[in-house]
Amino acid sequence: MIPISWYLILAAALFSIGLFGVLARKNAVAILLGVELMLNAVNINLVTFWRYNAPETVTGQVFAIIVFAVAAAEVAVGLALIISIYRNRNTIVADDLDLMKW
């Protein structure tokens, strides 16, 4: 039997990788990819806890489904923004988008 710790460690690792991607990538879309990874890690966590702690309820799965929906919405809007930025500034390098600079 697989102890819960394996799943949780996997989710933590996935999360960390996603964090790294968010912080270290130049391309704005790549940042969003990192965000996706983080969301997936979260989902793994949720489902794991559902399975190991309260499998008779459906709460965990519902939560995870809502996360799906949110992730989808967020990706849609985020990418729309990136496309709009690309059209205006002709760049999607995150470092070039510094209009809020002092």
Binding site: I2, L14, I92
Partner: protein, 171 residues
């Protein structure tokens, strides 16, 4: 080592490996493909956790919609120069450090939790998970409200995305 454990390790390797590739490839389209691989791996994991519906939804929604969306976005924002330049910005060292820190922190936190070594309990077979899930999502006492709110959210996102990405009319 049981078979499930080996299976788990293989899937874990796939997930982590492809995730790593996602954040380190130069070419964006490759990153998108590696993401798809990661998503598939996660779906397999869901299946191992007896959350079959979740696995299906993962594939349909994430891979079928979100990943496609990514690919579209990548196509629309392609820059030759960018793809040949270094993928990581100049703070990647600190970012790596923070990644490690976050992993380490999470691990430390989880380690001290007494339930860390639980084993999975058996599932009862007389309950139909999917029916339960479906009923829960539409029962007002249960999770109808979050469900509807999520729909509204999706609607908002839809409208927002359409509006933001709309090209300025030149008239």
């Amino acid at each position: 080592m049981q078979i499930t454990q080996i299976l788990f390790l293989i899937f874990a390797a796939i997930i982590l490996g492809s995730a790593f590739k996602v954040v380190t490839t130069k070419k964006m389209i490759h990153a998108a493909f590696w993401l798809i691989v990661t998503l598939f791996g996660v779906a397999a994991l869901y299946a191992m956790l007896n959350a079959g519906f979740m696995a299906m939804v993962q594939i349909v929604v994430y891979v079928g919609a979100i990943a496609i969306l990514f690919i579209f976005a990548i196509m629309l924002t392609r820059k030759e120069l960018l793809d040949s330049a270094a993928p990581l910005n100049k703070n990647w060292g600190v970012a790596a450090l923070f990644g490690l820190l976050s992993f380490g922190g999470l691990y430390t936190l989880l380690r001290n939790w007494e339930g860390f070594s639980n084993k999975a309990s058996a599932l009862s077979t007389d309950v139909d998970m999917i029916t339960e899930l479906g009923t829960a999502l539409v029962t007002p006492n249960a999770y109808l409200l979050p469900f509807e709110v999520a729909s509204v959210l999706l609607l908002a996102a839809l409208i927002g995305a359409v509006y933001v990405a709309n090209e300025a009319k030149s008239d």
